[in-house]
């Protein structure tokens, strides 16, 4: 479905430096049983966030009130594994609008773009810089500008530009999605099928 427009986001961030965070960690399979899209945020990182009795684990970052914000700064190779879009729904439903990492898994990145969560790929050095800054001062703000394709650590002014293809950028800025685009192509698709 069409989603919120994304232009510029200024927010504090939550650090999660673990590498190879797979979608089974983001949302374990046993929580995929819903037939609607809402409510997945409660189980985001479920098994890292709660113990078996359902008590919050103190050492997990989402249970640490020091950190909050709409940006998740994650370790390398984030979102590997299953194609479950539920992983992004959970991230969105929890309140994140942007995920930053030095490396994303393919399908995860696509899924993000399809529902309006912005995946920002930065250099490993810049990722480390962001993590260090947030950990040193949790009130550190980060600015993510989609029009300028730029991410800035506001406390120091250091910034880096990021890539996104023009079509996806346009979609995100306007809150359009691929289905809107494809539905408008119906006759071209019919012609393609007829010619095969």
């Amino acid at each position: 479905m069409a989603y919120d427009k994304f232009t510029t986001l200024i927010s504090t961030a939550v650090p999660l430096p673990t590498e190879n965070v797979d979608t089974d960690q983001i949302i374990p399979a046993r929580f995929l049983k819903a037939t609607e899209r809402e409510g997945f945020g409660d189980n985001l990182f479920r098994d890292w966030r709660y113990d078996v009795e359902g008590n919050p684990k103190k050492d997990f970052v989402l249970n640490n009130p020091t950190y909050s914000g709409k940006i998740l700064v994650a370790g390398k190779n984030f979102g590997s594994g299953s194609s479950r879009e539920h992983a992004v729904w959970a991230i969105y439903d929890y309140g994140f609008r942007c995920v930053v990492s030095s490396f994303f898994a393919d399908i995860f990145k696509n899924n993000c773009l399809n529902i309006g969560v912005l995946p920002v790929t930065v250099s490993p050095e810049f990722a480390d810089k962001l993590l260090a800054a947030i950990e040193a001062d949790p009130s550190t703000e980060i600015e993510v500008s989609l029009p300028d394709q730029k991410i800035t650590l506001l406390s120091t002014g250091e910034s880096e530009s990021f890539d996104i293809n023009g079509y996806k950028k346009d979609n995100m800025e306007n809150g359009f999605d691929d289905i809107d685009y494809l539905l408008n192509m119906s006759s071209e698709i019919d012609a393609f099928v007829a010619n095969r």
């Binding site: 479905m1 430096p17 673990t18 590498e19 190879n20 797979d22 089974d24 960690q25 374990p28 399979a29 046993r30 995929l32 049983k33 819903a34 037939t35 609607e36 899209r37 098994d47 078996v52 370790g75 390398k76 190779n77 590997s80 594994g81 299953s82 194609s83 479950r84 879009e85 539920h86 992004v88 490396f103 898994a105 393919d106 399908i107 696509n110 899924n111 399809n114 529902i115 293809n165 023009g166 079509y167 996806k168 999605d177 691929d178 289905i179 685009y181 494809l182 539905l183 192509m185 119906s186 071209e188 698709i189 393609f192 099928v193």
Partner: protein, 466 residues
């Protein structure tokens, strides 16, 4: 003439339109759906007030969430039941072919597609499941998609995708005794890492790959996603054609001849270039097993877990976190470690050849007392053959428990869970934390290694037992 890879040939012939500075509008020949990733897609179609454009191009089966006992009864878990009922409802409403629980071709979506002959060379195939890459074994472009894309395919038979980069992985030479296609793929992933093929579509080539059966090829393509690849594919050949001939949905008569003539053109042109190439020697590959929590963390069964030497920063922390979860120490051997469960099943190794090879190995033996052994056939057809060939009897005599088809303990959405802290050696494809149940410790291996573990009760090289 322009030299093209197999991937180029199939991709280029399915592009309806290239969006300037954007992705391609990519046409999908066949679409598989299951109960977990489709309900929201159908819900959104309804919200938009649109229908399914080409219902005959979609095929459905409930697999992820279904119980593997009493499949003829009402599903006890309320949420699972709702998902399965939604799937039935949606298939009925939109006229989509459903292979329901208990029907002759029910099973894991990636097992029944090939079995029915729906999967064919040259096709584009998607499913809301990352192991859709399995179908690439037939020389098809097959990959997993998210639910938004499931909705796109239902609504328009297209998705918006940028063409992936191209990688070729060649494995030449002869495989040693006790070495299977599962070992090949675990070996490759251990060499290039769990993210080593991200952004690529992989073609597997070389004499060792060509010598494999269709089922063994499927095991390899299945795990392409475990090194981050969008998908993997293998050029179709006589093995492919022989497998497909006579299958329910395979072309017949004159159509068959025409199809085979076309399929024979589906190979990488001599001199076509790849963005990246790897070469491996089959003789270097031995039975493999994983020791950590991503599929790149694999070693020889007779090998030792790497030490932390050379690792620093978050690399080292992540490595130690993984070993801590598994209860292992850096630098120690895995051979001889006690195991609690073995699981034979999943879309990686739940086909009839896998069950045959386990049965052949355990025949006349008994499983060790400390082992709980589950065999879950990938489909009803596999289950039926296993009965007819007397394999079930052999396995039951050895102390294995046979369950009904489904994804089962591969992702533990149903009751088939490995308890926290227990070790499972599994023929499935993912060893992520909690994948087989909260706290479960999974080690991935081939069906032969799993058979050896079942008999000895500990991590064992199959070549030493049988």
């Amino acid at each position: 003439m322009e030299k093209k890879t197999l991937f180029d040939k199939i991709w280029d012939s399915h592009v309806v339109k290239s969006v300037p500075s954007g992705p391609d509008v990519f046409f999908i020949d066949k679409h598989f759906i299951h109960e977990v990733t489709s309900p929201v897609a159908f819900l959104n179609l309804e919200k938009r007030g649109i229908g399914v454009k080409y219902p005959e191009r979609t095929i459905a089966t409930p697999d992820h969430n279904v119980p593997t006992v009493d499949q003829d009864k009402t599903i006890k878990d309320q949420l699972s039941r709702m998902q399965v009922e939604k799937l039935r409802e949606n298939c009925k409403k939109y006229g989509i072919e459903l292979h329901d629980l208990g029907s002759a071709h029910h099973g894991i979506v990636h097992v029944i597609g090939p079995e029915l002959g729906v999967t064919q060379p040259g096709m584009t195939i998607v499913c809301g499941d990352s192991h859709t890459s399995t179908h690439g074994a037939f020389g098809a472009i097959a990959f997993g998609i998210g639910t938004s894309e499931v909705e796109m395919v239902l609504a328009t038979q297209c998705i918006m995708q940028s063409k992936a980069k191209k990688m070729r992985i060649s494995v030449d030479g002869e495989l040693g005794k006790g070495v299977t296609s599962k070992d090949i793929i675990l070996y490759i992933i251990s060499k290039i890492s769990a993210a080593g093929a991200t952004g690529y579509f992989v073609e597997y080539a070389g004499s060792a790959i060509q010598s494999l059966s269709m089922e063994a090829r499927m095991t390899i393509c299945n795990m392409s996603i475990e090194m981050g690849a969008r998908g993997g594919l293998i050029a179709p050949d006589e093995t492919t054609f022989n497998y497909l001939k006579g299958k329910q949905y395979a072309p017949k008569g004159e159509e068959w001849d025409k199809a085979v003539a076309y399929w024979k053109t589906l190979k990488t042109d001599e001199g076509a270039t790849f963005d990246k190439e790897y070469h491996f020697d089959a003789a270097d590959i031995e039975p493999m097993i994983t020791y950590g929590t991503n599929p790149g963390m694999g070693i020889k069964v007779v090998g030792t877990i790497p030490s932390t030497e050379g690792l620093e920063g978050s690399n080292k922390t992540s490595f130690l976190k993984s070993l801590d979860y598994m209860g292992f120490e850096p630098g120690e051997p895995v051979k001889g470690k006690q195991v609690d469960y073995v699981f034979v099943g999943s879309c990686t190794n739940g086909r009839i050849e896998d069950i045959r090879s386990v049965a052949q190995f355990v025949k006349g033996h008994k499983k060790a007392d400390n082992i709980t052994a589950w065999i879950v056939p990938g489909s009803r057809e596999v289950e039926k053959m296993a009965h007819e060939e007397g394999l079930v009897k052999i396995l039951e005599e050895a102390g294995f428990e046979l369950r009904q088809p489904g994804c089962s303990a591969c992702l533990a959405m149903n009751d088939d869970k490995i308890p926290a802290g227990k070790y499972a050696v599994s023929t499935s494809n993912r060893n992520f934390e909690g994948r087989q149940g909260p706290g479960a410790r999974t080690m991935l291996a081939s069906p032969l290694t799993v058979a050896a573990v079942a008999i000895t009760g500990k991590i064992t090289d199959p070549r030493e037992v049988f």
